[in-house]
């Protein structure tokens, strides 16, 4: 079996780690500088969104609605009605779940140009327990018509997605982690909506990951290579629209697909890929995510390991799919 490594991409083993919220907040500042329509809305989440510098520089373009997420979404829609481009930022668990009807009606259905920034998503707040985990958000948001859903993997992609978001007219959900991750993209990076970049070429199996799982997928591909398995790695940051052609291409050119996400098995990336394969090109799959349980307590890193959401888990799933023991 052959394995080819993309020259562009680092694996995570070299790993200085970065909090993507820094790239998020720095890029939002830059966008505000270049476009006076850009404003921010938070739900008392000034620190957790890392928007203190924004508040300091643009106090009149910063709205803190307090702990009031339903109102926060409506206020965002109203600001968009008034010609502004609001970035509505809060912990993803509250931003999505608490205000789901507003996200559906005020954003998806109404098509207001509002950017939802779901911070500290997945199990980033691991120790705080399932109330603060946001592993359902991908399933919830991706079923809403007109809502674009993006899960960036590292600081360069987070910055690129933020830059892209200002040019994109329409509601978006950007899922941004606080769990430190290694760089997997070169800087500066350009994000393309609906495209799944190939981070590593391979012929035997395809690993599709998003968010914090991308670096782990690259690690798994490296370890698979040393086991003689050639794994292709795709970054599925564009959850909606999803890159159907890349999925079908992977199904045709490799022997199966392993998906990996910091989210519920149900309704997330694995579900989205399975829907396309089932209709157009059935292929063996393994889905790595959180099963139908509320997670126990522990750090984000602990919980990812607990659920097998690491390079070893991906490695094992790929071998299982290929029938290699």
């Amino acid at each position: 079996m052959n394995s080819t490594t993309s020259a562009l991409v680092a694996t995570s083993s070299s790993a200085e780690l970065f909090d993507c919220r820094d790239a998020f907040s720095q890029t939002l500042m830059a966008l505000a500088e270049q476009d006076s329509r850009v404003c921010a809305v938070v739900n008392d989440s000034v620190s957790s969104t890392k928007l203190k510098p924004f508040l300091g520089k643009y106090p009149k373009r910063f709205v803190n609605v307090g702990i009031a997420e339903q109102n926060m979404i409506g206020v965002g829609a109203g600001l968009a009605n008034g010609g502004l481009v609001p970035y509505v930022c809060g912990a993803s668990c509250f931003l999505t779940a608490r205000s789901m009807e507003q996200v559906k009606v005020d954003l998806g259905y109404s098509k207001w140009n509002v950017k939802l920034c779901g911070m500290s998503s997945g199990m980033a707040y691991g120790e705080l327990g399932p109330t603060h985990h946001s592993i359902e958000d991908l399933a919830w948001t991706r079923v809403i018509p007109n809502l674009t859903v993006i899960v960036p993997a590292d600081p360069a992609e987070t910055a690129a997605v933020m830059r892209y978001s200002l040019d994109h007219i329409g509601p978006m959900f950007l899922r941004i982690s606080r769990m430190p991750v290694p760089k997997v993209h070169p800087e500066p990076y350009t994000f393309t909506l609906g495209k799944a970049p190939v981070l590593r070429e391979g012929n035997d199996v395809t690993i599709m990951a998003n968010g914090v799982m991308v670096a782990r997928a690259l690690d798994a591909a490296a370890s698979l290579a040393s086991s003689g398995v050639s794994a292709r790695v795709l970054n599925m940051s564009s959850m909606k629209p999803i890159d159907k052609e890349a999925i079908l291409d992977a199904a045709r050119r490799t022997r199966g697909i392993v998906t990996a996400e910091e989210a519920l098995d149900a309704g997330g990336l694995g579900g989205a890929v399975a829907e396309i394969l089932a209709l157009h090109h059935p292929a063996p799959m393994r889905m790595l995510g959180v099963p139908d349980v509320f997670a126990p307590t522990g750090s984000a890193a602990f919980l990812l390991d607990y659920f097998g959401l690491n390079s070893e888990g991906i490695h094992a799933a790929a071998l299982d799919l290929l029938g290699v023991r």
Binding site: Q70, L79, N81
Partner: protein, 295 residues
């Protein structure tokens, strides 16, 4: 401009309360005719809100451009009680946002006139409403946008009273007072009846005005059927500098039609053709032709 009926409200004609009353009654009959057509609708709230809507849209309160509905400097009007779409669509047509003939497609298959308004389908609709408690937060955002951009346009939002049981309204109220949004006008259609029963029997709302005052609004109770009073108050805004305005507009659900007045069952009652003819008579309109809505 498409006016309802024979009475014309020209651009240079001052809004006369007696003219507004006749216009409002035409809106009432138009809404009831639409509900009779589709066998669906919200007669009680259509009738209670008709005078408020007529004063805002035909009394030259709202600064709008029907030729350019997205005119950035327009006043914003958010119909939070989106279920009263019969009255809302009728007033939008009366103001000239779309031809009155379109009203006869109310809730038909593929009609642009959904049971609840969709801004992407109809000009003049600022927000997609229907689920309650959405309009007020959106209005707060509109008012914040004007403030942020240094613009002078105002934002008006009409809510039901039962609607205020949704907590999102009180979240919005806190934001409005904190930012001192005196470019925001909340009008509560206080008809005292919600879908199932009277509001005070369902869940007590009084003292409603005092609640908004405690939330930092300048509050005034007004007769929601008195066009002269409505016109006077709507043209002397804000009530208090630095505070959002709240009008508790006391109304009668089903106003103007004896068999529907103050009856919870008429929240979404559908009139028969005989009832429609009786309503026309009680509203002082000789017959259905008076509204030029052909069903």
């Amino acid at each position: 401009m498409h006016d309802l009926g024979a009475l014309t409200l020209g651009a240079d004609t001052p809004a006369q309360p007696e003219v507004l009353l006749r216009k409002a009654n035409q809106i009432r009959l138009s809404a009831m005719t639409m509900t009779q057509h589709s066998s669906l609708g919200h007669t009680g709230g259509d009738l209670s809100s008709a005078d408020i809507l007529t004063t805002l849209f035909l009394g030259k309160v709202l600064n709008l451009d029907t030729d350019n509905p997205a005119w950035p400097q327009r006043d914003r009007f958010i119909m939070s009680k989106g279920h009263c779409s019969g009255a809302f669509y009728s007033i939008l047509a009366a103001r000239g946002f779309f031809p009155r003939a379109q009203l006869s497609t109310f809730m038909d298959p593929l009609s642009q006139l959904n049971g609840h308004p969709d801004r992407n389908k109809l000009p003049g609709v600022e927000a997609n409403t229907g689920p309650l408690g959405h309009g007020f937060p959106i209005a707060v955002g509109c008012a914040l946008a004007a403030r942020m951009r240094g613009e002078t346009w105002r934002t008006f939002v009409l809510t039901g009273d039962g609607e205020l049981q949704e907590g999102s309204n009180w979240e919005a109220a806190m934001t409005a007072q904190h930012y001192g949004l005196d470019n925001l006008v909340l009008i509560v259609d206080r008809n005292r009846i919600q879908q199932g029963d009277f509001t005070e029997t369902t869940i007590r709302m009084e003292p409603l005005g005092a609640k908004f005052a405690a939330f930092g609004f300048a509050v005034e109770e007004i007769d929601g059927h008195n066009h002269a009073a409505l016109l006077n108050r709507f043209t002397h805004l804000p009530l208090e500098s630095g505070k959002p305005t709240c009008f508790i507009a006391n109304t009668i659900k089903g106003k103007g039609v004896s068999f529907a007045e103050n009856k919870p069952a008429w929240h979404h009652g559908v009139p028969t053709m005989e009832q429609l003819i009786l309503a026309a008579s009680e509203l002082g309109l000789e017959n259905l032709d008076d509204i030029e809505v052909s069903i």
